[in-house]
Point group: C2
């Protein structure tokens, strides 16, 4: 095939979620689109990194020194949710109910892969907790072994401070048949069952 198409297919198929076939389909689709559309796509790609920096407070992606959430006056500044990566904070934002701030750790502990505590933004979190009056620290981490380990590590580190340290509830996810639920989840849901009696 001719070089300009081949080059694009090569670039596209290096991306995650795009296989060789999809890359071809995309390239041949793009040839037929108006030039303005290609210009828009191209410029959002090329300017992506230069237009984005990390918020100096929570380390989330931002266009200004302080991100929109940290700069907002309507959020509870005493509530911080620790998450692994920007996408996780975005997932919390989509619920529309969380009113606190975030702290992006930049990963979870995984000593075997070289991710020790000093590779994460734990020192920065310590600093933040010293400088601001926090009433609750939510550990909004996942349920992988590494995330659980990180959770325990942070709970030990901050568990004796004046603020509350909480972690996400473990239990039955929405819209699932119990029949197909794994043992660990069901066991967690059973152990952490909630009292709903009228007493």
């Amino acid at each position: 095939m001719i070089k300009p198409i081949q080059d694009l297919v090569d670039s596209l198929s290096r991306l995650p979620t795009i296989g060789r076939k999809s890359a071809w389909r995309l390239a041949l689709y793009l040839i037929e689109r108006p030039q303005e559309e290609l210009d828009v796509l191209s410029s959002s790609i090329v300017s992506l990194k230069s237009s984005i920096r990390l918020c100096s407070n929570c380390f989330n992606y931002s266009t200004s020194p302080l991100c929109e959430i940290c700069a907002s006056t309507s959020r509870d500044r005493g509530l911080i949710c620790v998450v692994e990566k920007p996408m996780d904070a975005f997932a919390f934002e989509k619920t529309g109910t969380y009113r606190g701030l975030y702290h992006i750790l930049g990963g979870v502990l995984s000593p075997l892969n070289g991710v020790t505590a000093d590779k994460l933004r734990i020192a920065q979190l310590k600093n933040r907790l010293k400088q601001t009056d926090v009433h609750e620290l939510i550990l909004g981490l996942g349920s992988s072994a590494e995330a659980e380990t990180t959770c325990i590590y942070l709970a030990r580190l901050f568990g004796h401070e004046s603020f509350k340290v909480t972690r996400l509830a473990r239990g039955v996810p929405a819209g699932i048949d119990l029949e197909y639920l794994d043992q660990i989840t069901l066991d967690n849901a059973l152990h952490e069952r909630t009292d709903i009696s009228y007493r």
Copy 2:
């Protein structure tokens, strides 16, 4: 989410094969890549259309007035395979065994969708067949109702000329269990069975 990421996600999720979730994953992946990689991707997109033209002989994508295949001296110039779109010609090229030229129709007949014979490159094909000494015209079209109709239309148009008009064999595709094959395919394979006896 912040605008530069949102813009890219919007552009990406308008593309075929890329859903909203994949678009997010791609955008967040691209943020972490080196700027040079984004530059390469961006410039292959922006220059795609301007670097590509249609071959004046077969109407396939090309970087020069005559495409590589039409310009080649090692191909059989008397053998033309009519295909719907450039991707189909590319599929034939991948087999590595076809040594003739192509003619890109630019679609198949679909009068209900406004695709009548004058919308396809049939006049150009007629012209080509007049000007060159062709010994065989292969109708390399698919098996949709529209493709079959186009095949019949072209067979009627050129069936009485001095050259042979053929169509692709219909039968059992590679690597499939007959049990799961549809009735029409099996019926075609049975009717067009090949004699392999030693006589």
